[in-house]
């Protein structure tokens, strides 16, 4: 098990600060959140080479969290769907440049039009995902699908994961990034999840952070102990996983880290 952090911890300053914090806290992984002005998908190759050198020097590994605000692989608007596809494709290229094994994505959002034309939007989402998986496969990169808590999200429950994995024929490069805070908000059936080896064996990342998400500021930390406790439980069932702590605040990172170490012991 590797423990790391999301680069959002340095969202207000600069990406390099996330590497510094990871080193200072003896963490071994950084999940780069691709969102300008923090980190742009248009970063030149020179910058990527610099990043690769810094993380090598610090003994860190990297993964890529694709942008996930407006992006929508399930969109019935071809311009939105295609732009999302191209941005995720760029994430695969960046992962390749940075010797990263994974990219993490939000699979899709189902707004009214996508719900009315549900078969078409599902078909489009699966087609776009399958094309990305084939391209990722050529580079030896896996695509991890993150669960989200919102009613509009295509992947928020255990049955959504089953549906997606069967639709993509359990592609070998398809994996899961289980977001514990999102799971709690969406009442995701974690107990059944950890009993299903087909999904557990594909879980390569676990996000731990303040609920409902690290974006909801100011934080309400009352739910945080439950997130840490549930993450510790899940960690007893998964192997070869990266735990990514996602928070904007360093003191909260340390608190979560200490809770996790205590919980796992």
């Amino acid at each position: 098990m590797l423990i790391g952090l999301s680069s959002i911890i340095a969202f207000k300053s600069k990406l390099q600060d996330a590497f510094e914090i990871a080193s200072r806290c003896n963490l071994s992984h950084v999940n780069i959140f691709c969102s300008p002005p923090h980190f742009s998908l248009k970063e030149p190759r020179k910058t990527l080479i610099q990043i690769r050198k810094i993380v090598r020097d610090k003994g860190l590994s990297l993964s890529i969290k694709a942008p996930s605000f407006a992006q929508n692989l399930a969109s019935l608007d071809d311009e939105i769907g295609n732009m999302t596809f191209n941005q995720f494709l760029r994430c695969i290229e960046i992962a390749n440049e940075l010797d990263s094994e994974f990219i993490v994505i939000r699979a899709g959002m189902l707004f009214y039009p996508e719900k009315i034309h549900s078969e078409l939007s599902r078909k489009l989402m699966l087609e776009r995902l399958m094309s990305l998986l084939e391209i990722a496969n050529d580079s030896g990169i896996s695509i991890l699908i993150e669960n989200y808590p919102y009613p509009i999200d295509a992947i928020r429950s255990l049955s959504d994961f089953y549906d997606l994995f069967s639709g993509l024929r359990y592609h070998p490069k398809l994996g899961i990034a289980l977001n514990i805070a999102h799971a709690i908000v969406a009442r995701f059936d974690v107990n059944s999840f950890v009993k299903d080896n087909r999904l557990v064996s594909r879980t390569r990342m676990i996000y731990v952070g303040p609920p409902p998400s690290p974006w909801h500021i100011p934080y309400n930390l009352r739910g945080l102990p439950r997130v840490v406790k549930l993450a510790s439980e899940v960690l007893k069932h998964v192997q070869d996983v990266i735990v990514t702590i996602a928070t904007l605040r360093e003191e909260l990172l340390k608190k979560i880290l200490s809770g996790l170490r205590w919980g796992v012991q």
Binding site: I8, F11, K12, S35, P36, P37, H38, S40, L41, K42, P67, F69, A70, Q71, N72, S75, L76, D77, D78, E79, I80, M83, N86, Q87, M109, F111, Y112, P113, I116, H117, L120, W215, I217
Partner: protein, 275 residues
């Protein structure tokens, strides 16, 4: 004293949109305005061919119906820090303005923007980006004889509170091609709809009428939710705002019921006024 009533194509939300059915429904039920929601796949502006544009314009003219458009809003964010999506958002709205010109629609309602984490941490910069983009859209709207109307938005991630809208107007020197679409449910989510209306009243060119339970977003008929309509209607009358009042609800029946209820409220408001 009469309100100008219209319907939104949201009333056909439960099935794929047929714009000609919507035009016919508006005509047969004596509505004066039709607001067409532009979303893929049923009504994506750049996919509407010239012949269909001509037919829409002519049908509306034949029926004496005034048209307006609601620009795409899913994944659309004029305040986005991501160049790709911001430029795509602009393009989708520009396509809508072009369509508005071709079908002789007078108003294009837009959602101003979304405030995700980058915007929350760099708010002033996000608002600068938004103002710049709306300024650009206003220039294009002017060339196409269209009014861009910013919808009031209340959500945690939405830009569109009264203070934000007024800031945009100030920065752009109150251009005549820019207006506000007052959404009653969104205003109710902010607190008291009458207060929101008062803050924006001089800028409002269009209103979305619907109802919802307190603190919730919904597309219910007037009277089905918890919004207190009589004081709002009184405020409209006192300010001589007669619409268009667009029924943005989830079924055709709800639009018909809502008009009847507003007429009844209006009757009471005006009779009390005359006493």
């Amino acid at each position: 004293m009469r309100f100008i009533y219209g319907i939104s194509t949201s009333i056909f939300l439960e099935r794929p949109l047929d714009v000609f059915e919507a035009i016919l429904f508006a005509y047969r039920n004596n509505f004066s305005v039709l607001e067409i929601i532009c979303t893929a796949p049923d009504f994506k502006p750049n996919r509407i061919d010239p012949e269909t544009r001509k037919q829409i314009r002519e049908k509306a003219l034949d029926y004496g119906l005034s048209l307006q458009l609601h620009a795409p809003f899913y994944s659309v964010n004029l305040a986005d820090f991501d160049d790709d999506f911001r430029n795509l958002s602009l393009k989708l709205i520009l396509d809508t303005i072009k369509l508005a010109y071709d079908i002789d629609a007078k108003i294009v309602t837009i959602h101003p923007g979304l405030c995700f984490l980058p915007c929350k941490l760099f708010y002033d910069k996000a608002i600068d980006i938004l103002v710049q983009n709306i300024g650009y859209l206003v220039d294009i709207a002017r060339e196409n004889s269209v009014i861009i109307s910013i919808e009031t938005r209340a959500g945690n991630l939405d830009i569109g509170k009264p203070e934000e809208i007024i800031h945009i107007f100030r920065k752009l020197n109150f251009p005549s091609e820019l207006g506000v679409t007052f959404d009653v449910v969104q205003a109710n989510l902010m607190g008291n709809p009458v207060e929101v209306y008062r803050k924006l009243r001089k800028l409002i060119v269009n209103a979305h009428i619907r109802d919802a339970p307190r603190g919730k977003e919904d597309l219910l008929a007037v009277g089905e939710g918890e919004i207190d309509f009589p004081p709002l209607i009184k405020e409209f009358v006192n300010n001589r705002f007669f619409g268009p009042l667009i029924f943005e609800m989830s079924t055709p029946q709800r639009a018909l019921i809502s008009r009847a209820r507003l007429e009844y409220i209006l009757m009471n408001v005006t009779s009390n006024r005359n006493k």
